[in-house]
Symmetry: C2
Subunit: 356 residues, 2 copies
Amino acid sequence: MNPKKDVTIYDIAKQLNISTSTVSRALQNHPAINKLTKKKVIATAKEIGYQYNTFAGNLRKKSTSIIGVMVHELNSNFITSVLAGIEKVTSEAGYDIIIAHSSESYTKESANALNLFHKRVDGLIASLAYDTKNLDHYLPFHQKGIPVVFFDRVEPSDKSTVVVIDNTKCGYQATKHLIEQGCKRIAHITGNLSRNVYAHRFQGYKKALTEHHLPFDKKLLIVNDLGEEAARNATLQLLRLPSLPDGIFITNDFTAAVVIQTLKENGIVVPDDIAIVGFNNDAISKLIEPKITTINYPGIEMGEIAARQLIANLKGEENVQLTNTIIIRSDLIIRESSLKKHTPLSIASNNNANKK
Amino acid sequence: MNPKKDVTIYDIAKQLNISTSTVSRALQNHPAINKLTKKKVIATAKEIGYQYNTFAGNLRKKSTSIIGVMVHELNSNFITSVLAGIEKVTSEAGYDIIIAHSSESYTKESANALNLFHKRVDGLIASLAYDTKNLDHYLPFHQKGIPVVFFDRVEPSDKSTVVVIDNTKCGYQATKHLIEQGCKRIAHITGNLSRNVYAHRFQGYKKALTEHHLPFDKKLLIVNDLGEEAARNATLQLLRLPSLPDGIFITNDFTAAVVIQTLKENGIVVPDDIAIVGFNNDAISKLIEPKITTINYPGIEMGEIAARQLIANLKGEENVQLTNTIIIRSDLIIRESSLKKHTPLSIASNNNANKK
DNA sequence: GAAATTTACGCAACCGATTGCATTATGAAT
DNA sequence: ATTCATAATGCAATCGGTTGCGTAAATTTC
């Protein structure tokens, strides 16, 4: 009934008539162990079906070689790219990752943080939930000297590295592009403005307006949860306005896609009547019609950099400042959804940042 | 420099002048411990900042309360729905999950399986990689009596439960629907036919053809890796055919979206010239134009059921057969991409299986 | 008021790998 | 032959909870 007892290094030691220390060291490829002994140990290990017991090891070593990754959701292209980047770097460095997602809820993020802390992760890479404002739940990590790196959704912290893009610049670029296409009334659909990414994009949006002597109209700013229904409602809300906008800067491509669809359903032509710029360069931005002008947000790179930074911390490279900000490049990809002046598309395609 | 030593139950015991056994039991809310004692233990635990050490506990208990989840990729709506379902059920039951993804590679799947095994997961929920044919890498689990539940991408196994949809039926329905729309030359774009899901959908496709006395034409079957480029090439390949197909059944919505786009670029009208049916009911299927007729594949439900099944196993409910097959309902959602006979859409919308 | 329960707690052996320090075997040097 | 350096291995404590079993104290029973 009960599965037979696990085979341990004691069994190997007994079989070979050596001590467990030797076995342990042989298994770790310790230099002080004779090559022949190593071979024998490894051979019998395989033979009798030995399996390393992580718990015993971790308990003794007080380190897990696990890096926790906290994300808000898994369902975006961007996040999965980041994860891919993180995984690439961490696995090369011999770390495992364990993913927790907050479902955009501060409460869950908090619980997950505690959980990861209990699991004794060696380090943490995190992006904050929609409504996370304070960083108290990361205090235990800081107190115990466990490095934490934040990416994308961050709060200013004097204890951690943050990896971000220049959202202000992106918002500025997007809006400026619309202005250059002749837009005069540019709406902005975005998320909770207390979340850094949205706040900064909004700042960039405003800056571009101001610089081009366009007024900021509160009615053209819509803040919602970026879901499908919210996107439709936002669109209808804009359509109900006495004077329609002629451009919309939208904070993600999925929302932009829904908006475009809703506009089309209401007889609005994109980009002629209303030009659209999205954000993220998700797969969907190239598949809907018209293809969406967007900001390329290199997730893989962000993941790699965050992971590299964390690992540098872990390895104790003292020259690494713990509290710095890394800003990743990002750029505007011009596609059809914003081209009012039917510019020859070659310009746009040159700008296309897709690999291959 | 070194962070202060962790506080353990020994510290609590010393402080209160009781034994660690009592502390341990108090923390577990063991009935044999006095309520007052429990309170005191919990209070001092909080006071001196005690943190449970998972490793010590796991080492002793020989169980981790962790469930491994192996998926092929994270970037589909379907998979993230499944994960959501799994998480809901497992977290309610007090289990944590740790996610591994194989990137569609057998080699990586194999390595991940071993890894999860080393981490001593209590159970495993897995969907196979694109090219995984044998299940040998799950043998260690079976040998040790660790339950494994497969979902979606599976291989017949006499050691595990599998949770699937009736892919044959879905393939049949999709194809039959196209036939009913008047299609006579129906192509099929799909993945590796040695993978169960694709094999069965193909079977259903053939069955529908046969039943309606339509010939099966090898040239109309395209097997590829379902990536974006492959989808474009497949479309072009079909367009080069001496006589074009008038319908295509495509094994996922993303691919279908790319195909539709490519068709449109080549002046083909969907559905009038070529009708399309996709698969999965991903978000994208409702956003592109025309909206894609597809098979609703309820990921959340599949995740929940797989998780429930696994937990039933873990709890040792003896009445649970270990080796059965659970088939989840799924249904055709009719949208514009397949409606040649411009049927009033009310029929289709009734069929719409969206929640809410 | 003695016996039988019940309640609450402690003892001490585990779980399995790691590692500082000591020890022995081997070879080189004098 | 003796000494010293080096290579290879062993000893035993340690990591921090868990739990079967035993026991003392409190309560009930007749």
